[in-house]
Amino acid sequence: MRAPRLLGTAVLAATAAWALVGAAAAQGPRREQLPSGLTLLVRENTATPVVAASLFVRVGSRWETEDDAGISHLLQQVLLKGTPTRSALEIAEAAEGLGGGISASADMDFSELRATALARNWKKMIELMADVALRPTLPDAEIDGERRVMLTALRSRQDQPFPLAMDTVMSRVYGDHPYGRPILGRPAALERIDRAALLAYHQRFYRAPRMILAVSGDVSAREVMAEVARRFAAAPAGEGEPEPTLPAAAARADRTVLVRPSAQAQVLVAFLAPPTSHPDYAAVKVLTTALGGGMAGRLFTEVRDKQGLAYSTGGAYPSRLGPGVLYMQLGTAPANQVRAEAAMLGELERIRRDPVNPAELTRAKAYLLGNFALDRRTNARLAWYDAFFEVLGVGLDFADRYTRAVEAVTAEDLLRVAQTYLAAPTIVTLGPAAQ
């Protein structure tokens, strides 16, 4: 009953994903490099009278070690806590007064300062972002406060079944590579980081050539470029920091059993996978989607719909500058854990053995590209993606090239990448002690 109908929709599918790309996303941003080295990306989008901006800085947990793990995220939090002319409260009030907000966080390959505003306030928004990024005062009391919040958040992750299982599987699959540590860092390292360390870290990394500012909204690109040149003129030049030498990622390919009180048992299975710039990237994305993307992927249909063994199940393959990770997840009643895990491993085995059928391949590609297009509709997401592609060094036309690469993926490609990357699972299970 199923296959013929799918073939019917397949004709539409190839064009459908394109059809989702909105006017704003269809064209690339204007790109300019300031004399200081800061990269500026501006998108004019008149659809709504709003504006969003993302300032990416090439610093994150990738540049951290066990000794300062968590410093990138701590710095981001404290940036918002004072400049020579604004207190923490004044920064918050200023951002809210523009009809938006300002926030910051660190990731593995970058740190981000993001802001939104009503479009008429775009100039003030740029000024506020520059003030916070370039002139933070990093007050001691605020460092202590944010450190405590991060320590609490780390403990909280230890107490919740899914985050704990996730952190554990990442540490097992990445080994000593910094991607194996949580962005929140290590408690011992956090306790040690003081104002001097944060200040030095800021000076090392917050340099113009390491910065990418992406702006999207109902603004004039020419005016934004002039204003950014003026407001960010104080950003220090020079790369500042050589690329770190990183320990190799070496997946343990073993099983870790965590015993914790929980209503659901969690099963996570992970594999090392290629970085975003790798030729296999698109095929592994499609593979992940065929297995665990959406509600018609294999895990959802087999483990949840046919067997009723889970509510949440799926997989992901996040885009990374360095080694990627492909993981599959499910949560189930403790009594069903063994059966559910066997079902999941069975699906991983099957996709390495047999080619996917044409309808599945079509669905996976359409879903993947459709989601990609749906995720690039708001100004905040458009700015984020522009800065992200720049940080990954994949080029302004990445969205187009990626779309074509996904469309070209064949069932044979999937079989090949499944056999290449899904050979040795690293498994983490979490649940209450066996009765």
Binding site: A47, E96, A333, L374
Partner: protein, 449 residues
């Protein structure tokens, strides 16, 4: 607390309950046309079904929402959880389409689908390329009109619902929200968990569940909302073809009783495996459509909304008593809730509660500042503009308003917020944030070595 609905089907029950309780009540569309958006078209089909069409030419996607006026509050003894269970079963096959048809058809053209159940309503959505709008209307109609409730599928899906219950139990924040409603509303329908009662769900059969569904999925209890770059005449024709043949059934939703008033503090402490303490306080507030709604909305924003809010500044930034705190106003059809939830590292929830009450007392006695009011109004205006960046933002606001409130009032809501005065905010604090409230604490369980 700003939870977003999960992309996965129906984290719904709770996510949607939280959607309506978190942040501001309903800030979205306004009567003033902005950037060329025409007013939505609202009409009632001959069988009583309502249709709302919003042309949105700048969009490349279409949002198709089907809203039904059925939720946890409509369930009698023996059918607790049926609204949500029925929602799951809609994805399990119709007379002419097999299990999984919605997901497969939608995802195969690059779209998304999901559903949600709350106390007041159940809704289903498709997000599709604009060219797929008309087949999408036929698809969603087949889904909600012709589901078969196959007994084998029902048995299997029941286990999925139980997994959803367990998932929510393991998450302290979602558990806190649900149990806080239970503590505040108790025997009132809003006090019942949308996910239902395990015994009732186990006893559900094809006959009983379908009987429940048949009672409530009637034309005058449903609204179709279509937002996107669509031709209204074509949408109307497709809606008539898909839904028009369904005969009218006289159905009137019974009015809700008023929530029980109480004096003093309704207190509950629950031991949990986490090491953090969670504190939730909740007061009874005005329902959707009440004349105090906008003032309470502004009050919630100033007290506990963004980073600059009173509670965040006093408890997180200055006293460092909590790692996070938020205040919110959730307006439902029959009642409103004003809540404060906080997470703290130590066990001293008492000190946190005293600090929260002190901030509330400050608003009650001294009111709010002109700057605070101005920022709250700006936030409301901005939220409306940002919600128009996607078609689903408007569809959600329209569907919810049509089902539990009023479309025109929803569209004029930002204008109401603009007119709120400082005196009204202070009066609202005095009227609602009284000494009668619910207090729920999640305390760390003593660990055995």
């Amino acid at each position: 607390m700003t939870p977003t609905p999960s992309r996965r089907r129906s984290v719904c029950a709770l996510a949607i309950v939280l959607l309506t309780t978190a942040g501001c009540a309903t800030r979205t569309a306004s009567s003033a046309p902005s950037h060329g958006l025409p007013a939505p078209i609202r009409e009632v089909l001959p069988n009583g079904m309502r249709l709302i069409i919003q042309e949105h030419r700048a969009a490349s996607t279409v949002a198709i929402h089907l809203w039904t006026g059925v939720g946890g509050r409509d369930e009698s003894v023996g059918e607790r959880g049926f609204s949500h269970f029925a929602e799951h079963m809609m994805f399990k096959g119709t007379a002419t389409r097999p299990r999984g048809f919605v997901e497969t058809e939608v995802e195969s053209v690059g779209g998304r689908t999901n559903a949600g159940t709350s106390n007041d309503y159940t809704f289903y959505y498709l997000l599709l390329p604009a060219a797929r709008a008309l087949p999408g209307i036929a698809l969603i109609a087949d889904m909600v009109l012709n589901s078969v409730f196959d007994p084998t599928e029902l048995t299997r899906e029941r286990e999925v619902v139980f997994e959803e219950v367990r998932l929510n139990e393991d998450n302290p924040r979602s558990s806190l929200g649900r149990q806080l409603y239970n503590l505040l509303y108790q025997e009132h329908p809003y006090g019942r968990p949308v996910l239902g009662d395990a015994a009732d769900l186990r006893a559900a059969t094809q006959e009983t569940l379908r009987g429940y569904y048949t009672r409530y999925y009637v034309p005058n209890n449903m609204t179709l909302v279509v937002v996107g770059p669509v031709d209204p005449a074509a949408v109307r024709a497709a809606a008539l073809e898909a839904f028009g043949a369904r005969p009218a059934v006289p159905y009137t939703r019974p009015p809700l009783p008023a929530p029980g008033r109480f004096d003093g503090v309704r207190d509950r402490a629950v031991e949990r495996p986490e090491r953090q303490t969670q504190l939730g306080l909740a007061w009874l507030g005005p329902p959707l459509g009440h004349s105090d709604m906008a003032a309470v909305d502004v009050l919630g924003h100033i007290l506990g909304g963004p980073r600059s809010s009173r509670l965040n500044q006093a408890l997180r930034e200055r006293a460092r008593l909590v790692s996070s705190i938020s205040g919110w106003y959730g307006a439902l059809q029959g009642a409103g809730t004003i809540g404060v939830t906080a997470q703290l590292e130590g066990r001293d929830a008492g000190a946190v509660e005293q600090a929260i009450l002190a901030e509330i007392e400050r608003v009650r006695s001294d009111g709010v500042t002109p700057d605070e009011l101005a920022r709250a109004i700006t936030a409301s205006e901005a939220e409306r503009e940002f919600s128009r960046e996607t078609v689903e933002g408007l569809a959600l606001a329209y569907g919810r308003a049509e089902t539990t409130w009023n479309l025109e009032e929803e569209r004029a809501y930002v204008d109401r917020v603009r007119k709120v005065t400082r005196a009204e905010v202070q009066a609202a604090a005095r009227r609602y944030l009284t000494a009668s409230y619910a207090r729920l604490t999640f305390v760390p369980r003593a660990r055995t070595p």
